[in-house]
Amino acid sequence: MSRLAAKFEELAKTGRKALIPFITAGDPNPEFTVPMMHAMVDAGVDVIELGVPFSDPMADGPVIQRASERALAHKMSLKRTLAIAMEFRKTNQHTPVVLMGYLNPIEAMGYENFANAAQRAEVDGVLTVDLPPEEGQECRELLKARDIDPIFLLAPNSSDERIKKMDEIGSGYIYYVSLKGVTGAGHLNVADVEDKLKQIRANTSLPIGIGFGVKDAETAKTVSVLGDGVVVGSALISKIEANLDDLARAKNEICELLASMRQAMDERGTRS
């Protein structure tokens, strides 16, 4: 069983929901990331989404765009992101790591080289924002052959047919984009998410992580009731951006926010 499947199974048994932070590898510098990952685990997170910096992050809002720019200014790359994942894994065997990014760096490395490198780094999942199922068969099969879960997105306008497709080809979990927009945008509408989750649940048994629009402990708690996991990215990266002159403080503020989310999510209690 993959590390992701095992994690979601373990959480389901205890009635807890996954807290899934997203940070961009190498933001604001390459040395910051591995200690930050360990600190997040200590703050109570279950899965880490590690963003691969890209020059043209078309699905991201300004906060994550700037995170990519800061990382790229330090020559961060897919190769170096994999090295960060490998470094993290040396001292943490139980927290799944999902790489999240865009296709072109993977195209440049070559699908097979990438799949091999991801396996060596013991990466657990790969979410490629601009690689929909129709175009992704080759890459997906190479990953699956190495027990790496291809993670897919679903959106508020996804059809039943689309959900079934993701159920068929995806594994690990499904990332539900809770609003039409870019990362860090607006506020999610709880009633809309609730309705959509019913439709998604009717068409897949994969765990659902919900992201986009999760800003604080309160939204994390609300969303955790609806899905199996809560993804938070821009709210964390904003802490880095606000404390570029004091990264120890950035790290503390990120951990405090995550700990408050953890607490709120667990308060909601088991078995709703």
Partner: protein, 402 residues
């Protein structure tokens, strides 16, 4: 050449061999499928075609002339040069052929809001124009660098009622404008139609924009036959994203005797790295929804580009051009900023026609090509836009304050 005699690219999911496709985030899949279905439907709808033809004739001013540049041909001493006068279209470039078509589609699809990206501003102006005519809200994304160097077009768009958003991210040029337009679209998918200005983006855009621009080549072919009794020997067009080039080339693809030559922007020179010539010096990759040749580094990060002409300052190129290059059906060359200026001055002074800096690249290559050909041979060059928008850039280079 591994191409079939009958050319019928792309396939139903938008692939030109390994190029093209639909590489977008999940939220854009439904609107793109909706667009593809609508396009496939109206492509064969006689009412739609009739309305489009009427607009092209009475609003755009088509057909555009095929003009024999006799003095320039004599001066160069080789092939007879014919200019396809897209500069004479309403709004001053070929871009309006496509925006008229996509705006009609937007109207039929019930969309109330139009967005567009623009580099030189020609596509932005052409979009703002059709949006004004149809009474649709219009937002144009333009890199902050381009806003500065094409301020005349910014003013035109504002006059036409569009909101122009200066994009400050990345290299602040056309690619960043495209990123920002995609972000807008993903946020406002329900009421918004994204009019992409070139033959790039996810399927169906490369095929759809080509089909709307193919009127250039259809007219040119007929006009050439009428004027000379035969097909041309070569077609020359500048290539940024490549819409004017594909518009001219497409109706000639099966006419194997006709050489197709696309001219990329070499900026300071391809060897300097400061250029916009992915077909000449790039590699395949995925950006903005399709696989094509790109300017990117070894890690797959997109490189910053350079060209004197904002409209060619783009790190990618339409996927059909990538395919035409690989199959050998078209040939792609490059022209530096300085050579483009020679083309600009030559056409201005020999024929009394001031070309856009983009089109000047095609003129500059024609100056190299024509003398190598016989006097009985024919080149058709796409004069894709007029140079009025570039007066400030040119005056500044000459040290003149306007």
């Amino acid at each position: 050449m591994n191409m079939t005699e009958k050319y019928n690219m792309p396939d139903e999911r938008g692939h030109f061999g390994p190029y093209g496709g639909m590489f977008v985030a999940e939220t854009l899949i439904p609107p793109i499928q909706e667009l593809d279905a609508a396009y496939q439907h109206y492509l064969n709808d006689p009412d739609f075609i009739a309305e489009l033809d009427t607009d092209l004739q009475y609003y755009v001013g088509r057909p555009s002339p095929l003009y024999h540049a006799e003095r320039w041909s004599r001066e160069l001493g080789g092939a007879q040069i014919y200019l396809k006068r897209e500069d004479l279209n309403h709004t001053g470039s070929h871009k309006i052929n496509n925006t008229v078509g996509q705006a009609l589609l937007a109207k039929r699809m019930g969309k109330t809001r139009i967005i567009a990206e623009t580099g030189a501003g020609q596509h932005g102006v052409a979009t703002a124009t059709v949006a004004a005519r149809l009474g649709l809200e219009c937002v144009v994304y333009m890199g902050a660098v381009d806003v500065a160097r094409q301020s005349l077009n910014v003013y035109r768009m504002k006059l036409l009622g569009a909101t122009v958003v200066a994009v400050e991210s990345g290299s602040k040029t056309l690619k960043d404008a495209l990123n920002e337009a995609l972000r807008d679209w993903v946020t406002n998918v329900d009421n918004t139609f994204y009019i992409i200005g070139t033959v790039a983006g996810p399927h169906p855009y490369p095929a759809m924009v080509r089909d709307f621009q193919a009127i250039i080549g259809r007219e040119a072919k007929q006009q050439c036959l009428e004027a000379t009794g035969r097909l041309p020997d070569a077609l020359v067009a500048c290539v940024g994203g490549g819409s004017n080039a594909i518009g001219l080339f497409y109706p000639f693809i099966e006419d194997k005797s006709v050489k197709l030559i696309g001219v990329e922007a070499a900026g300071d020179g391809v060897s300097t790295g400061r250029h916009s010539a992915p077909l000449c010096a790039g590699r395949p990759g995925v950006l903005h929804g399709n696989r094509t040749y790109l300017m990117a580094d070894d890690d797959g990060e997109i490189s910053e580009t350079h060209s004197i002409s904002a409209g060619l300052d783009y790190p990618g190129v339409g996927p059909e051009h990538a395919w035409l290059k690989d199959t050998g059906r078209a040939q792609y060359v490059n022209i530096t900023d300085n050579e483009a200026l020679d083309g600009f001055y030559a056409l201005t002074r020999m024929e009394g026609i001031i070309p856009a800096l983009e089109s000047s690249h095609a003129m500059a290559y024609t100056m190299k090509l024509a003398p190598t050909m016989g006097k009985d041979e024919i080149i058709i060059v796409n004069l894709s836009g007029r140079g009025d928008k570039d007066m400030q850039t040119m005056a500044k280079r000459e040290g003149i304050e306007l």
